[in-house]
């Protein structure tokens, strides 16, 4: 009771400090609440979108690896006959070009045409119908379009669907293009979709028979998928078991996907994002913890005499420690109490700003709330350990001496030694593999376990150790900066260095705590920037690479006849057209556990191609085996593959080794590695950008096999992707149009891989910048700590400042003196941040190698880091300005009186 009373009253005595510290915790808590709730709201939006605009049925039957080839229509009757099925409908999805109201093709803008079975398919009615009505038949030349399709068809320049502009109205006619004859449809309804969704994929809903009968789709007698709704009394597991066996008999490539599995897959895919949202919160929480530490250290230092008196009259050491811990918990408690409503306020702002995106509204993440409260308490408790220990070391005798001895700075430097050791712990975890040890112990899957150990140990032990280590190094850095940089700053600020000396070291732990808080944001910023640039910078395209890649959305894919037609298109090099079949097999054995799947997906991407032609068109460096040997093996024997260097690093496999892959046609089969090629960063890009998202599961690592194996083992009948080289001087956009005309597959998209790379890099940089907001938030939190520290420093020197003012020091000089201290503190924080960030980036690169096998050269964006440094400096300077200005404003007598009171 007494301890709580004392703790509470101590906080009240230093109102400004307590407020700033509480504000730092509150800001962190609000960030955690808003980010995790923002994620929850986004997740809810995704699921709402899925249930409203995509498949939200109990089960779907699709064709694995080759969704475009679809499922036979005859299957629908069998499904409907199942006693546990309440309803089943077919759907067709077909990517088409668009024609504007003037009859001109709209360049580079496709639409998704959805064939709907009406009136059985009620799911479309969940969408908001803005005008007209839904068709009630599966035939007829009618359609319902979404608002963006309506706007684009009316005005192709209205790319993002500006609704203030006019669009196609109910009753108007639109056309879908095909060389064999356009499909004319009357618009009978307009639905409204979230803008972000509609803008990405404008949709046209058409009666399913109309679409099947339109030759362009090639969908006669088949659907893209069958959607199944089960009877309320049905047993989903039994249904799934029964139908999986049945589909295996009918055609092994037909797969049943249950809603729960879909959800599970999505959950798994979103898990990384969820972890990132919590990680972002944890970073700002760490900065807040250092500020709490700093505030507590100041409190213990200033109250040394009171604490000594309490010891003298009978307080135990534990009671003093308890006092500090209670103070920390009170700060955290107030921070949480203030931070949660603040977080809700951010959420409301988020809702207001993104109301069109967050269609499911705002969801409060209770997990995030708990995390915020728990992490705040934990952070406060951790932050109180050292100050509490310092309080217990207060000697009762100090109550008897005229002035308590607050300076123990030389001893504080000794902390740098354990600090350095702790900072090295993460490198030790990542650079020294436990694989040989596990292998020596005869443990199965030593490779996987070693990798998982490295990842989790890095996350749970390594990172905290680095942060703690650098925090312990901070006092030494304070000393070094004060001695080495202090004179320079003194000259810059036109103040005498002797006056600046010991400004920071006078309260070395409070300075260290604040510098550590600044360090957190800076280090996160550095590691994000360096790692991001290293990853993206290492993604290099070989000098010899296909000029263009093209994809088609034609159902059933491009036939050999289509490929022949492409050869005859003027400008295409007929000898260099490379069809590529894509499949997404899972690994044969459970190489990665479910837990590990959050780290590394368990599927790979199988590219089926003509190896001889592929290696002629792409000059890949062989790291193991030879090109000649690989081509010979792949063309003369079945089930031989090329793997990437990253794959080899990851799995520890080499030429001649076998790899088990799950195939829909023949179960688990062994593939032999015919060679290892170096393809800088392809796997990382595949994994990062999830190029295999059409396979409904996350993928990582690419392997290259033959078209025959893709067809025979994975059931990939249609080819949707091909690479080609063109004649010199050919306009690529024109060529894409020509190919569409020749093949008749409207909906072909083309891309120059170098342009694609540039787009991907641009998006990646935007992503890095977005994630860097976490770092800036932490810096914002830390700036409150700077204000706090400068205030405490000013307070302890009021008497000294009073004397200086009395003997003729001008206000401006005093202002510059205090600001110089803020600059020095910033320099300490920045230097720690750069060192810590540099070490973390170094470790992160090793982690990338361990986890993905990718080992790109370092790429440091010096300009961006310099900008980040400038931002930290400005924030810290602004934070120091208030206490500096307030002390400079006071008359000398007020400073002397206040200084006497403080002493």
């Amino acid at each position: 009771m007494l301890v709580a009373r004392l703790a509470f009253s101590n906080l009240l005595v230093r109102k400004a400090r307590s407020l700033l510290t509480v504000a730092a915790v509150a800001l962190s808590v609000s960030l955690v609440v808003s980010v995790t709730s923002g994620y929850a709201s986004m997740e809810a939006t995704i699921f709402r979108m899925l249930s409203t605009f995509f498949a939200s049925v109990d089960a779907r039957i699709i064709r694995q690896n080759d969704a475009q080839s679809g499922v036979p229509e005859t299957l629908l009757q069998q499904v409907r006959a199942d006693r546990e099925v309440r309803s089943a409908v077919g759907r067709i999805e077909y990517a088409s070009g668009l024609i504007d109201v003037e009859g001109r093709p709209i360049v580079n803008r496709n639409t998704i045409v959805i064939g709907v079975t009406r009136p059985e398919d009620h799911r479309v009615e969940l969408m908001e119908l803005r005008a007209g009505q839904w068709f009630d038949t599966s035939d007829g030349d009618v359609c319902v379009i979404d608002q963006v399709a309506s706007l684009i068809i009316k005005d192709p320049s209205n790319t993002w669907g500006d609704e203030s502009k006019p669009g196609v109205q109910v009753g108007d006619m639109i056309q879908l293009p095909s060389p064999d004859g356009n499909l004319s449809l009357r618009v009978i309804g307009i639905v409204h979709k979230p803008k972000i969704l509609a803008a990405l994929q404008p949709s046209v809903y058409v009666p399913i028979r109309t679409l099947q009968n339109w030759p362009a789709t090639g969908a006669k007698g088949r659907f893209s998928a069958i959607w199944v709704d089960l009877d309320p009394n049905a047993e989903p597991a039994q249904f799934a078991g029964r139908w999986r066996a049945k589909l295996e008999e009918i055609d092994p490539v037909l797969k049943l996907k249950m809603a729960s599995e879909q959800r599970g897959e999505l959950d798994k895919n979103l898990r990384g994002l969820q972890v990132a949202s919590y990680f972002g919160g944890a970073v700002s929480m760490l900065a807040a913890a250092f500020i709490v530490f700093s505030a507590l250290s100041m409190g213990v230092n200033e109250r040394q005499r009171s604490l000594a008196m309490m010891r003298a009259i009978g307080a135990h050491k534990g009671q003093l420690a308890h006092l500090v811990v209670i103070e920390a918990l009170l700060l955290a408690g107030f921070g949480v109490a203030l931070g949660i409503p603040l977080g809700l306020l951010w959420l409301l702002m988020l809702k207001w700003l993104f109301s069109d995106v967050l269609i499911a509204g705002i969801y409060l993440s209770y997990g995030g709330l708990l995390f915020a409260a728990g992490a705040s308490a934990l952070a406060a408790m951790s932050a109180s350990i050292l100050p509490a220990w310092g309080a217990t070391r207060t000697e009762p005798l100090e109550a008897m001496v005229p002035l308590a001895d607050g300076g123990k700075r030389n001893r504080a430097v000794a902390w740098a030694v354990p600090g350095l050791l702790l900072a090295c712990a993460d490198s030790l975890i990542l650079f020294v593999s436990i694989r040989p040890l596990l292998q020596g112990l005869g443990i199965d899957q030593a490779d996987r376990l070693a990798r998982e150990f490295a990842f989790y140990a890095h996350l749970c032990i390594g990172l905290p150790c680095v942060m703690l280590g650098f925090f312990l190094i901070a006092p030494l850095m304070v000393l070094i900066v004060e001695r080495m940089v202090g004179p320079i700053v003194a000259v810059m600020m036109r103040v005498r260095y002797p006056l600046l000396r010991q400004q920071l070291t006078g309260g070395i732990w409070r300075s260290a705590g604040t510098a550590a808080a600044l360090m957190v944001g800076m280090a996160v910023f550095v590691v994000l920037q360096v790692q991001g640039n290293t990853v993206i910078g290492g993604w290099r395209i070989p000098d010899k690479f296909p000029d263009m890649f093209m994809t088609s959305f034609k159902l059933g894919g491009l036939t050999p006849a289509d490929m022949e037609k492409i050869k005859s298109v003027p400008g295409v090099n007929p000898d260099e057209i490379l069809p590529i079949a894509i499949a997404s097999p899972e690994f044969g054995s459970s190489i990665f556990s479910i837990r590990g799947a959050a780290v590394m997906p368990e599927a790979t991407m199988f590219f089926g191609l003509n190896p001889k032609l592929a290696l002629e068109m792409m000059e890949l460096e062989f790291r193991d085996g030879t090109e000649q040997q690989a081509v010979e093996l792949m063309t003369t024997r079945r089930r031989h593959i090329l793997v990437t260097e990253e794959f080899r690093q990851l799995k520890g496999l080499k030429t001649g080794d076998t790899l088990s892959l799950k195939t829909p046609r023949h179960g688990t089969v062994d593939y032999t590695i015919a060679g290892v090629v170096w393809s800088p960063g392809i796997d990382v890009m595949v994994s990062s950008f999830d190029l295999g998202k059409q396979f409904e599961q996350r993928t990582a690592a690419s392997i290259f096999g033959t078209l025959e194996d893709a067809r025979d083992d994975f059931g990939v009948e249609g080819v949707y992707l091909f690479a080609l080289n063109v004649m010199p001087g050919i306009q690529k956009e024109q060529l894409a149009d020509d190919i569409q005309k020749y093949v008749g597959a409207w909906g072909i998209q083309s891309g120059d891989v170098r342009v694609l790379k540039s787009i991907v890099q641009h998006q990646f940089r935007k992503l890095i910048f977005m994630v860097s907001m976490v770092a800036f938030s932490a810096m914002g939190v830390a700036s409150l700590g700077v204000a706090n520290t400068i205030m405490a420093s000013v307070r302890s020197r009021l008497w000294q400042y009073g004397i200086l003012r009395s003997i003729g020091v001008a206000r401006g000089q005093l202002l510059r003196l205090v600001l110089a201290e803020a600059i020095l503190l910033t320099v300490v924080g920045v230097m720690l941040g750069l060192l810590c960030g540099g070490l973390l980036a170094f470790n992160a690169k090793q982690l990338l190698l361990v986890m993905t096998g990718y080992d790109p050269p370092f790429s440091v964006p010096f300009g961006t880091i310099a900008t980040g440094t400038a931002i930290v400096a400005v924030l810290a300077m602004l934070a120091g300005l208030w206490p500096a200005a307030s002390v400079a404003r006071r008359p000398p007598i007020a400073l002397l009186q206040a200084g006497r009171g403080a002493a």
Binding site: L2, R5, R305, S306, M309, I313, L397, A399
Partner: protein
């Protein structure tokens, strides 16, 4: 047995490589109800002696016995408990907790041990009354005069009814009128209420309120005499003689 006994106490401090002997075998006994003033020049060792008596520091050699307990034999926790229950400390700088009221500061030693009972509250009020602080009980230290602050500090030293009260220059931060009030209060505590008090001072005018004076010079007890034999002037002269 006397409530406070120092037997052949030695204490040496180290300043860099130099060893400074603060106390060289001081032996001293304070009887129950006695009010002893320890005098000496600056650096003579008088404060060190008081610190040893309070168990705030340990002797290098010799024993300090308070209320029949050898302080040198106690560990930190036991010593802390012992100090809280058996020794009342009065500081030169008052050392009140600025965030607590006068009443709370006074009750602090009890509050460190347990929640205040009804009888504790009663005792605190009686003590406040005795010290003339009833009307100031809800005030914080910054609203009290120096004399009032020191009276609160004296109350804090008395609240646990300790075996001995140790005062370190209790009038050092007070003006003459407040000094007089505090000195009279200490004298009454000893004379009227039978408290055992040891007070360190270098002012003969303050020492005059004690019953006996012990003079320390260069770490040794050089004289011990009754105050009653002297008036202010002769006490000052006697003290000066002892220092020569």
């Amino acid at each position: 047995m006397a409530p406070l006994v120092c037997e052949n106490v030695h204490k040496t401090f180290h300043q860099g490589d130099r060893a400074v002997a603060a106390l060289n075998g001081v032996t001293l006994g304070v009887n129950a109800g006695q009010f002893l003033a320890v005098m000496g020049a600056s650096g003579s060792g008088k404060s060190t002696l008081l610190h040893l008596m309070a168990g705030l520091t340990q002797a290098d050699r010799g024993r300090v016995i308070v209320n029949a307990t050898d302080l040198t034999s106690l560990g930190d926790r036991a010593l802390t408990d012992f100090r809280r229950r058996n020794i009342g400390l009065i500081f030169q700088a008052f050392n009140l907790i600025p965030t607590l009221t006068a009443e709370e500061n006074l009750a602090l030693p009890i509050m460190l041990e347990r929640r205040l009972t009804r009888s504790d509250h009663q005792k605190v009020r009686e003590l406040l009354d005795r010290l003339g602080l009833t009307s100031r009980r809800t005030h914080r230290p910054d609203a009290l005069s120096g004399g009032e602050q020191q009276r609160v500090a004296i109350g804090r030293a008395l609240i646990t009814e300790p075996a001995v009260i140790l005062a370190d220059e209790p009038t050092g931060n007070l003006d003459s009128s407040n000094s007089k009030v505090v000195c009279e209060l200490l004298r009454d505590l000893s004379g009227v209420h039978g408290k055992t008090i040891v007070m360190v001072t270098h002012e003969p005018s303050v020492a005059r309120y004690a019953q006996e004076v012990a003079v320390i010079r260069d770490g040794s007890l050089v004289a011990q005499f009754e105050v009653a034999e002297h008036d202010s002037e002769s006490l000052a002269m006697r003290y000066q003689e002892c220092l020569r």
